[in-house]
Amino acid sequence: MTYINMIIESPLLRCIAVLILAPTIGTLLSGFDRKFTARLQGRVGPSFWQPVYDILKLFGKQQILVHRTQLAYAILHLFFMMLTLVLLVLGQDLLMILFCQAFSALCLVIASMSVRSPYSWIGSQRKILQMLAYEPTLILLILAVYLQNNSFLGFKVLERDTPLIYSMPLMFISLLFVIAIEFEKSPFDVASSHHAHQEIVKGTTLEFSGPFLGLIEVAHAYEMAMFFGLMVAFWHTSIIMGIVLALIGFILVLIMDNICARLTSWWMVRFMWTIPLTLSLANLIWLWR
């Protein structure tokens, strides 16, 4: 216990711990996702550690690169995703965190725009539409946190004595849709799908191969862990309840993934700007004092 306390006390150790733990949590979540999907389809499915094997395999493969710019932006994508997580763990300004996360996504867009494959271009254009679809909801979420704490700082949330879910249940529902987009789940997996390849082959990650694809997969694991952490933060007073809440949210997203077909990118934008945004605004109205 003393070690755990020591890690929680010191910001540096906390950052190192989260940088090591987050990809593990992210890959385990996608392992759970693949197993769960397989069970829903009535088959055995891969091992629970399959995403870990996938990433380790990718790092052992031959390095083929289209050009250096692509690699630079892939590394920046990973770096800014890690920075987002570190800022979140340090309880920094939530707007800054949102900015870092958006820049990380933008790096992936630039990386896939920098090659000459038309599929990759279409994928990155759709990724921009995805960002257009979910960013307003995230900004409203941060605004709602501000209205309750009178501060944009993340650690102020942890000082509250009632869980956020009591005052922001509708926000949680709209966050689930954002998470479905971020985790590349149907019906929102227009830019790059996590399961089978799709009509634009693999979209944004099309021109990456071997270890460079591995970098993007690691960044994705960080991203998954970060959004899972956001869901846990909705019930910060009890960590067990937080994890239960986050798992329920994650399973709901997986069920939606399995029962929906992929829809068009503009449908996604229209949907996100109506239902989740209305839910968030309704939630915001009753928080406004």
Binding site: S47, Y53, Q63, A196, K202, E207, S209
Partner: protein, 173 residues
């Protein structure tokens, strides 16, 4: 690192000159019913992400460069499965004017799966065999394939003078 290659073989499928029999069968074989994902198999549409190249159909003069290009885009270590007799030797189309032969004329092949088209179990077996081979490969391994014996079966041409063989046989009796 190479021991993980065997645990997550991602398959890309290339239709060379096939009659589509093998393609339909192979794609059906990757559906949830046979659950190829329990071996870690993912069907990817992109050679740059793949480890195993599955080729159906024979090679002809037009597509041999395409096949070579697809093969070169796969990062090593990689394995090639020739699905069906067409991919092995040219099969039904072996003596067509434009057909070069089996895919081993263009790229090195690791596993041949016989059948026209092969059974789903044989296809999965072929993939699992390729995974075993893939485990032993490193980034530098070069694959060499032996020449397969090609037997071309077609009816012999009739000699010109025996115009009516049936009647000749009757007269002998």
């Amino acid at each position: 690192m190479s021991k993980f290659t065997g645990k997550s073989p991602w398959v890309v499928h290339f239709n060379c000159n096939s009659c589509n029999g093998c393609d339909i069968e192979f794609l059906a074989c990757l559906t949830p019913l046979y659950d190829a994902e329990r071996f870690g198999v993912l069907h990817v549409g992109n050679p740059k992400h793949a480890d195993i190249l599955v080729v159906t159909g024979s090679v002809n003069k037009k597509n041999m460069h395409v096949l070579k290009n697809v093969y070169d885009q796969i990062p090593a270590p990689k394995a090639v499965v020739a699905m069906g007799v067409c991919a092995a030797t040219g099969g039904l189309f072996a003596d067509c004017y434009n057909v070069v032969g089996g895919i081993d004329k263009v790229i090195p092949v690791d596993v041949h799966v016989p059948g026209c088209p092969p059974k789903p179990e044989a296809m999965l077996d072929g993939i699992v065999k390729a995974v075993e081979i893939l485990k032993k490969k490193t980034k530098e391994t070069e694959t060499v394939t032996e020449e397969l014996p090609v037997v071309i079966v077609k009816p012999k041409e009739l000699p010109a003078e025996t115009a009516a063989p049936a009647t000749a046989k009757e007269s002998e009796k």
